[in-house]
Symmetry: C2
Subunit: 344 residues, 2 copies
């Protein structure tokens, strides 16, 4: 039983002196095959450690049982949660996942999608890179009849199933909570304009202020979405003649920068200044004080995305309506915000 040249059906057939087609049928328990032959074949297959060649199967059946995932970054708590959600369900449904990381590059996204198409994936899950403004590569996939689901970073230029988190509402809830607990000068450290998730969170922030009859003060809004910048911005803001009494940040890491700076300035949190982040990353539990934040339910987003894709795959190309699944975000209150001081 030489190891080298992987065992094929033909090897089994030769060994038993029967036809390959008979072996094939025996292996798939085709009732047309005698019980005896079937047993002989299956036994030998086990002994020779025969494993069907998935490539040959794919070529014949035109089914690869493989799905493609295109994602900006793997090293990102939220995205890794999404991947886990996708993987788990894909696995249960018997699909393999080919994963492409774009590193936020449009070019790599295009190449990634093309490679997936060449690999004949049966469907594509994608979260757009920050650079992506042109969607021809995706249109191309769609034209070839490859079902696609976009999640988190989506575009309205394309008709596909979509899954997003309700960023707007999450931000609105967060800011509303700050106001209800007595904050009046709420600063927002926001992501780059044009990035939908950042825009939506900024809108949620602004609307919550307006709905509570507070003015939106441009001086309190900064474009700042990382730890280092947050350190600087926080000190600038706290130096204002009328400093903020709360920070709402576009993500958790930025919030931790704010907390760190406030701690250094010996400003009590949340007594003097409240802080709310966005994402519910692992790190939000370990800051001191623990960070209040908005959970994006990454795992569920992954599950919802792959489920939509599987549904469409099941439907065999029947014209299902496109679904935009909006996952509820959730306000997680920890210790960086005050307890509600106004009744509901």
């Amino acid at each position: 039983m030489m190891a080298k040249g992987v065992v094929t059906i033909k090897d089994l057939a030769d060994e038993l002196g029967i036809a390959p087609s008979t072996v094939s049928k025996a292996l798939r328990n085709n009732p047309a095959i005698s019980e005896e032959t079937r047993k002989k074949v299956n036994d030998l297959a086990r002994r020779m450690n025969y494993k069907p060649n998935a490539i040959a199967l794919s070529l014949r059946s035109n089914r690869t049982k493989t799905l493609g995932l295109v994602i900006p970054e793997i090293v990102h708590h939220f995205f890794s949660l999404v991947i886990a959600g996708i993987e788990d369900l894909a696995y249960d449904a018997g699909y393999n996942m080919i994963i492409f990381q774009t590193n936020e590059s449009y070019n790599r996204e295009v190449i990634g999608v093309q490679t997936l198409l060449a690999s004949r994936v049966e469907g594509i899950l994608i979260s757009l890179s920050k650079e992506t403004r042109n969607y021809d590569h995706l249109r191309n996939a769609l034209d070839q009849g490859i079902p696609m689901v976009m999640f988190d970073r989506v575009t309205s230029d394309l008709e596909t199933d979509k899954v997003t988190v309700d960023d707007y509402h999450g931000a609105y809830m967060a800011v509303n909570h700050l106001i209800r607990t007595g904050c009046r000068r709420i600063s927002h450290l926001s992501g780059p304009p044009g990035l939908p998730i950042a825009d939506l969170r900024r809108m949620g922030y602004s609307d919550a202020l307006r709905d509570n009859n507070l003015e939106v003060n441009r001086d309190l809004i900064m474009y700042c979405d990382n730890f280092k910048q947050a350190r600087i911005r926080t000190k600038q803001l706290m130096n204002m003649t009328q400093p903020p009494d709360a920070f709402f940040t576009v993500n958790d890491l930025t919030a931790t920068g704010v907390i760190k700076s406030l701690l250094e300035l010996a400003i009590p949190i949340p007594q003097q200044v409240s802080v709310i982040g966005f994402s519910n990353d692992e790190l939000s539990q370990v800051t001191h004080p623990a960070l209040s934040t908005v959970d994006q339910h990454g795992y569920q987003i992954g599950q919802a995305s792959i489920q939509l894709l599987l549904d469409r795959l099941m439907a065999q190309g029947a014209a299902l309506p496109f679904i935009h699944h909006v996952i509820k975000s959730e306000l997680i209150l920890r210790d960086s915000t005050r307890i509600s001081i106004l009744s509901e």
Copy 2:
């Protein structure tokens, strides 16, 4: 130019009234083909958006340009770094990655490896699940001539290339630093016995103590590797008649649990108690005080692993010696440890 049935070489051939093999040659710029035909073919291919079928190519060439990755958990900063390192180099080398998440289950690991074999991956990268004690599934792959690289969670029962971080040395350095800065009763919150990375870190801890003529006190060693348990253990330990003056933990999350508890007990860090974690996760920068820790260089581990695999793939099965690449870990000193008080 109907979208549906993906375009094949035969379609191009029919369209131009020439033979498929001629089209094939023309597309690969075979010099035996006239400049004219070559142009005609390539133009049409572009117009009809022809894309070679990777499956057919694989079947013919017996090369899939696909590698398999089996990993315990994607949602884990360290592992996601490793994946990123692998992805980036694999991409440059023109390989696709199929990823399998075992969720630390031995069964899923076995199935994962089998699926990868069925998909005819050209090589396998694997980090063992915590449950794995039997290696037949891997031996099987090896017997089929599939090159394999094990990283981080490896076993000496198998002859393969390996990449690990020098856990022992990292732990040794960490504890040595604690001692040099005056700590004498150093507690170790360790991972489960039997898990190599936990054992090595525990050994590094013990040896550093012994080499500095300090006794290894079993009462100061606890099996505790997560945030929640750390909260409980820390309080227990600090209640001892002779409480520890330092904690060395098996990972960063555990260390943050320690810090949180110490903060609640109003014990000054690092003046009274020092803390060192392990991993250099993102969260180690955001604790207060910022956590001293040992960096595992996950990205580099990923790169080293895929590089070994690519080397072996290049070597075409020539008998390269097996390499065990040990990546240097690095002691990262932040604010949870004291400045050195003894000269080097």
